[in-house]
């Protein structure tokens, strides 16, 4: 960085100082200014990075301690991890999280790709209003309906298994996923779809063989976005899952609310529960970012 000439990235001239070739003797000064400006920005970015990463460092540092080592802030051991595994069925809760995520995402993909395709390419009278109806459900805060939801699911005996939570996650994810898929399918040419239908594929098979393969990037975006949302969720899992089928996030939150578990054990639990989401983020961050910004309607 220090050896970079004035053409270092981001070296756009600050105040239009290098207005003309007559700037001769001042050029060295300008270069210095540019370089120190880039350095200042770089240092600022490092400071922000330290703040954003500090919680992770804190968890990592303190997960490997015993309660005593935590109080003294000295020494490391696996005591926290042992306590965690003794108090929380980590493996089975990670499995629960995985199963709940997989089932809910499967439903979301099944209904949002079909509906998105219908709203974009198979418009019928009133389909615009139906689309609006589905997407406007985005504005319903879960807390507003959570009591009747609980009553309904309990009535159908869906709160004694994964089913209730899976259905609620699926319903919550569907509006945005449908919006995203419809937006994506609108970008596919009508002629392509019509040609496939004319060739005798029919609408259903055209959807399966032409539209689905073309929309894999959008499907990836929906999957990643929903995975992180469902994996990280507390409220739905807390209320609608039976204790034995709790997800890791719910298990961790209730363990913490008990106020009897040592901090190192909680930090260890935080870390291990975050690992899958972090891995997915690191691999698919492009898709995640696309999904988050698509909401802007562009």
């Amino acid at each position: 960085m220090a050896t970079a000439p004035a053409t270092s990235p981001g070296s756009t001239d600050p105040g239009g100082l290098a207005g003309g070739p007559a700037a001769g003797p001042r050029l060295g000064f300008i270069r210095l200014r540019k370089k120190s400006y880039a350095w200042a920005l770089f240092c600022l970015m490092v400071v922000v990075a330290v703040i954003m990463l500090y919680p992770f460092w804190y968890m990592l540092d303190n997960a490997f301690r015993s309660a005593g080592q935590f109080d003294r802030q000295a020494g490391h051991s696996l005591a926290g991890w042992r306590e965690l595994f003794a108090n929380l069925p980590v493996a089975s809760q990670m499995l629960n999280s995985t199963l709940v995520c997989a089932a809910a995402i499967a439903i979301i993909l099944a209904v949002s790709t079909t509906a998105g395709f219908a709203f974009a390419k198979l418009r019928y009278r009133g389909s615009g209003i139906v689309f609006l109806l589905v997407v406007s459900a985005l504005m319903v805060p879960l807390q507003s309906i959570i009591i009747p939801e609980y009553v309904n699911l309990a009535k159908f005996n869906l709160t004694s298994s994964y089913a209730g939570a899976v259905l609620v996650y699926a319903a919550l994810g569907t509006p945005f996923a449908t919006f995203l898929m419809a937006t994506y399918y609108r970008g596919i040419s009508d002629d392509l779809i019509e040609a496939a239908v004319m060739d005798g594929l029919g609408y259903e098979r055209t959807f399966l063989r032409i539209a689905i393969p073309l929309s894999l990037p959008a499907i990836a975006t929906v999957t990643v976005l929903q995975f992180i949302q469902i994996w990280d969720d507390l409220l739905v899992g807390l209320l609608f899952l039976p204790t034995s089928q709790r997800t890791i996030t719910v298990g961790l939150a209730t363990l913490s609310a008990g106020r009897t578990t040592s901090i190192p054990a909680l930090m260890a639990g935080s870390l291990i529960s975050a690992v899958p989401a972090i891995i997915v983020y690191l691999i698919f961050q492009r898709h995640l970012i696309k999904g988050l910004t698509l909401g802007m309607g562009k």
Partner: protein, 292 residues
């Protein structure tokens, strides 16, 4: 069957599952919630009260205390937007390594707010990181647990909320900045504007749409996504210090098993969110007519 009617039929068939799912699990419960809100119900016996249930709630000082917390949390919104705006501007200078830093800044977006709350709990405690930092700069004697005082706990919650929003809002602004026409910035430079003037007079006005979007997302999150943080950090306390409307629904409905009153709070939350949503729709429409 004609091609057109086949297409129509296919369209209806393919959109039915999504409509059913959304109507059954999100639509119908709203109607039920409105009904529940006018009953006194503990899950077993229901007594119809009618709209006077709302009058009773509006006379309840605890309800206003909770709503006040929601109002106070709105004070965090300018920070939850302003800080990411500055971070996005920083990244948008494209100094060497900016892509790496972008990934780092967005990382907390992938993390559960349960986990963030778990760290925040330690950060704000009497023996926590914040007090340690403060003692280093000479405030040693005032080591207090921020989560033990009503207003300081709300402040701690607000700060944690701001931190949790940084990733999402930075993504929004960075996306916005990428859509800007670089020649406008160049022209401003030729006109002799300095960096701050360019940011303030050129970049910011062009980002209006994105700021509006992030404003709506941030307000919605402040009112309906803090459950995890509150559950882990304070449980709504001390007293009602950090109980917001969404947490009040949970407490009333599931801890005190007053389904009727809980549903009523939920309906009030729904109305507030609907107003925010309508404002957003109007803003988007206004922008569309300007050719955005």
């Amino acid at each position: 069957m004609s091609l057109k009617s086949r297409r129509r039929r296919a369209g209806i068939v393919l959109s039915i599952p999504a409509v059913l799912l959304v109507v059954a699990l999100l639509g119908v419960p709203i109607g039920q919630a409105v009904y529940y809100s006018m009953t006194q119900w503990n899950g077993i016996t229901a007594t119809w009260i009618g709209p006077s249930a709302y009058v009773a709630v509006f006379k309840d000082p605890i309800f206003w205390r909770v709503l006040e917390n929601n109002g106070l949390l709105l004070l965090a919104v300018p920070f939850a937007i302003g800080i990411p705006l500055l971070i996005a501007a920083l990244l948008n200078e494209h100094v060497r390594g900016w892509r790496f830093f972008r990934s780092v800044y967005f990382l907390p977006t992938a993390i559960s707010w349960v986990v963030i709350g778990m760290f925040a709990l330690r950060f704000f405690s009497a023996t926590g990181v914040l007090n340690e930092l403060l003692s280093h700069v000479g405030f040693g004697s005032s080591a207090t647990d921020l989560l033990a005082g009503e207003s300081s706990a709300l402040a701690a919650l607000a700060i944690t909320f701001i931190f949790s929003m940084v990733g999402t809002n930075t993504i929004i602004f960075l996306t916005g900045m990428a859509t800007l026409d670089p020649t406008l910035i160049e022209a401003a430079k030729v006109d002799g504007l300095n960096r701050w003037q360019i940011f303030h007079r050129v970049t910011l006005p062009l980002l209006t749409r994105f700021v509006q979007f992030s404003f709506v997302i941030t307000v919605i999150s402040a009112f309906s996504a803090l459950f995890s943080l509150i559950f882990v950090m304070t449980g709504g306390g001390p007293g009602f210090g950090t109980t917001t409307l969404e947490f009040f629904v949970y407490q009333t409905g599931f801890q005190q098993v007053q389904f009727g009153t809980g549903a009523l709070y939920g309906i009030i939350l729904f109305v507030i969110m609907a107003v925010v949503g309508l404002v957003q729709l109007r803003l988007i429409r206004a922008d569309d007519s300007e050719g955005w």
